[in-house]
């Protein structure tokens, strides 16, 4: 296959492209989903294809094909070159980049898994789901719907370019999850989830806190607790957000604004603000493709889809904006180093600046000290979605939470939404706990420019923040 990719590069250059990248994905995606007692999905997807980027006159052209037939590849290269040339005629903001020494990957760039998903048969995986569901049933009451899900994505990613780089590694991610919907006495439905995943082998589901039983227990018992939970009042409150929610905040509201493509065109409110204080000393945000997974969890992304080795990039350093997340063109334009953040969701798309693992750095507080610092407000737990606007406005959902009074956890509250503007919020981060956790998995993912569900890791410690807007029920004034 490498020879075919190299031929694509050669053909593209002969057709007049200044620089060519060719990549091959050969990925397996398996999804198992059981709803109540019925197996809803037993799915296996083979995602095989080749993508070619041609650069010409400061613009790029992209094409792709699922076929490795040489005539099809030639056509794809031809399309990419023509698109690049047509684009170059109207490109007034050129994103050229300098040539660099070739990058060669090593076998050790693939994360070592103890029990690779392909080494176990399907019944091993259905058993994981069954065990999670059985345990959730044991711990839940009033269950109207229960869903267990297992997913695995693994396979080869091969890359070459005009510099002669050869990058050959395996992408790997797994996840096991359980979601319980229970009905209250008044007929309302409440939800709770349990999940574990990331770039790990199936040994993950043998470790404490991530066994199918642990996952099922969390979903079942939290749904049970939600039956008695009250709606969160609407208004502005102090809050303690737990690790996953901190990650959603880092990713959705800040990470996207730091992506180089939105910075170079002035779309991001972070454009031109390098060196500016945006947050408190407690606010440090990092993007890192190869974090210490065994200690913190996360996703292993040693190279991006433009052949750049992934970096540990401190975007926000103790409140100061330090760096953006780049592809080679945006890095060159903004006179920063490439960060290894140019990723595509699959071979049908051109790689664009995206995140890898984005998280708040840990602080010094213990959990007890964080609750004490919070004093009175909302302890918001687990993320169930979020969205962000171009101006930094955001809205995130926490699956559940607690009302905290004088540093003590009082009553549970139902699904809550947190909203605000990230640039204001960062200046109200008062403290962070010591424990860093990074979440990643097979289900869900990041969406941008039509490229949906790119696996990303996100996380942080628990953060104490003042004056967060909570949606909920307001009394009529």
């Amino acid at each position: 296959m490498l020879e075919k990719l190299e031929k694509c590069v050669e053909s593209g250059e002969k057709m007049g492209a200044r620089f060519v990248e060719a990549r091959f994905d050969d990925l397996i995606l398996r999804t198992l989903q059981r709803v109540n007692d019925v197996w809803k999905d037993i799915v296996l997807r083979s995602r095989i294809g080749i993508g070619v980027v041609c650069y010409h006159g400061g613009a790029s052209g992209y094409s792709f094909t699922p076929s490795d037939d040489e005539r099809e590849l030639e056509k794809a290269v031809n399309r990419a070159v023509k698109v690049a040339k047509a684009s170059a005629k109207v490109a007034s903001l050129k994103l050229d980049f300098d040539r660099r020494p070739p990058v060669k990957s090593q076998e050790s760039d693939t994360f070592p898994l103890k029990i690779h998903p392909r080494s176990e048969d399907l019944s091993y995986k259905t058993d994981l789901v069954n065990r999670a569901i059985d345990t959730a049933r044991e711990f839940g009451i009033g269950i109207s719907n229960i869903r267990g899900m297992y997913g695995e994505l693994y396979g080869r990613k091969l890359f070459t370019n005009s510099e002669g780089s050869v990058i050959d590694w395996n992408f790997e991610v797994i996840e096991l999850g359980c979601r319980v919907t229970s009905k209250t006495e008044s007929g309302d439905l409440v939800n709770a989830t349990g999940e574990a995943g990331g770039t790990m082998g199936l040994e993950l589901f043998k470790t404490k806190g991530s066994t199918p039983e642990d996952i099922g227990k969390e979903a079942g018992s939290c749904a049970k607790e939600q039956l008695k939970a009250k709606a969160c009042p609407a208004g502005r409150f102090r809050t303690l957000i737990e690790n996953e929610l901190a990650g959603v905040l880092a990713h959705e509201s800040f990470g996207h604004l730091s992506e180089g493509d939105s910075v170079v065109v002035g779309e991001s409110p972070l454009a031109g603000k390098i060196g500016t204080r945006l947050g408190t000393d407690q606010a440090t945000i990092v993007d890192y493709g190869t974090p210490n997974i065994s200690e913190y969890g996360g996703l292993w992304v040693p190279y991006d889809d433009q052949g750049t080795r992934s970096n540990e990039t401190t975007i926000l350093d103790k409140g100061m904006l330090k760096h953006y997340l780049h592809n080679r063109g945006t890095a060159h334009y903004l006179k920063q180093e490439p960060t290894g953040n140019c990723r595509a969701v699959n071979f049908g798309f051109i790689p664009i600046p995206r995140m890898t693992n984005t998280y708040f750095a840990p602080g010094e507080l213990t959990k007890e000290e964080a609750l004490e610092l919070l004093n009175t407000g909302v302890y918001a737990i687990q993320a169930s979605g979020g969205q962000v606007g171009e101006d930094g406005s955001f809205l995130f959902k926490a699956t559940r939470g607690y009302w905290v009074q004088n540093g003590r956890i009082k009553e549970p509250i139902r699904e809550v939404s947190l909203s605000g503007n990230i640039l204001n919020l960062l200046s109200r981060v008062e403290g962070a706990t010591k424990d860093l956790r990074i979440s990643a998995g097979y289900f869900g993912g990041c969406g941008k420019n039509g490229q949906f569900l790119l696996p990303c890791g996100l996380g942080g410690p628990e953060l104490v923040i003042d004056e967060v807007v909570f949606g909920g029920s307001a009394s009529e004034e």
Binding site: N36, V43, P66, G389, E476
Partner: protein, 461 residues
Amino acid sequence: MMYENLKDELLSTVDSGLKYARTVDNEAEFELYLFYQNRAVVNITQGVVEASEGIVKGNAVRVASQNSVSFASSSGISIDRIRRSVSEAMASLRSVSIKDERFSGFCTPEKPGREGAFTREILDLSKEELIDYAGCVVKEGQEFDRRIKTVGSECSAEWGGFAVGNTQGLQQSSRSALNSCEVYCIAVNGEERRASYEFDTTRERLINTGGLGKKAAQRAISLLGAKKLSATTVLPTIWEPRAASAYILFSLGQSVRGEHVVEGRSPIADKVGEEIASPKLTITDNGQNPSGINTEAIDAEGHPQKKTTIIDRGELSQFLFDTYYARIHNSESTGNCSRRARATTSYETSPFIRPKNLEVKPGSKNLDSLIATTDEQAILIADAPLGLRHSNVSTGEFSAVAQNVFLVENGDKKWPLQPVSVSGNFYIGFKQLLNIGGDLTKTVFAVETPTLVFDGFSVVG
């Protein structure tokens, strides 16, 4: 492949694929889905140009044997890739004994519906023309006002089709073509940044890009000078069509889906025939609207697409089904089986139920009249609020941030507001629907709706 012979070529491959599948297991049931799409996309933002052009091809196979069902897909539609999918699906089926007692066969053949409106001009759109369109739209937005700092436009053209066959004897296909222009503008004044967008997506004519950039810029500028609401209260909210469409799609558009009804996730599962909304409200899902962007002759399992009334003058009349869930529910399929829309890997998604083109029956008042009839204070929401899509279908509770929002006072539209958090319960909202406008508008969500006015939602700003 050419548009003219696309159906024949796909159906011929479906036939070959099914013949092969029968040689693997002549007692199992098979379904084969093939997808083919030509797609060109041009994105210009402030002079940065990115463009792509390619052909998306993929296949998906479902196999059923003794009440077990499995799914496998693969990129490409060559017979080798189809064989791969058949082999993977069979391997899954043979390696575990997982029964779905509710499964009672794939879709049976029926006469297909009609394909949607079509113009050859979309097939002939070149990438150079798409680049021109996007460039002109960006220029128009940039030149409108010096406070417009960023303008981006994406223009795309796509055409293709899909075919489905199964061992029940069904072999059907459908084709469509679509072109689209989206533009967004960001207006900046000091530290204040406000964004807005416009679009034209159509299958029956070439995109009309003239004025789109100006309109988006105008809208973004109108949002500058926003004041704080400075209140936590309950107020009437006026949802303009783009906001209302999100409300409809993420509430009823979810809870009427057969899988949510059957699996116990829909709170309106047992309410057919009951009044669940104001008698002013009638909603249909029209998979046969010629100009609807999701209109096809057949759905994703080969059943004819149809028009289904969901809410009739406030009364819940029908849910949306595919064959599988319809049979469990003792109902008929409404032709709503879907795979992921307009994504490069839509064939990878196992079938699920989705509305095709939702339509809300309009009232008679225009937006100004609706505003004029509002007593005291209200909030005008001009665009889809952030976070609405993450609402909970089971509870109906939602909380969203409305960014393009204005204060209405004593019947007048006053000034733009800084983002306002709006929350409540979708289903209670439908009962508290105060008014429906006459300004029927197509939106990006494949929902055609006028302005909707609700009472009783909490607002924080």
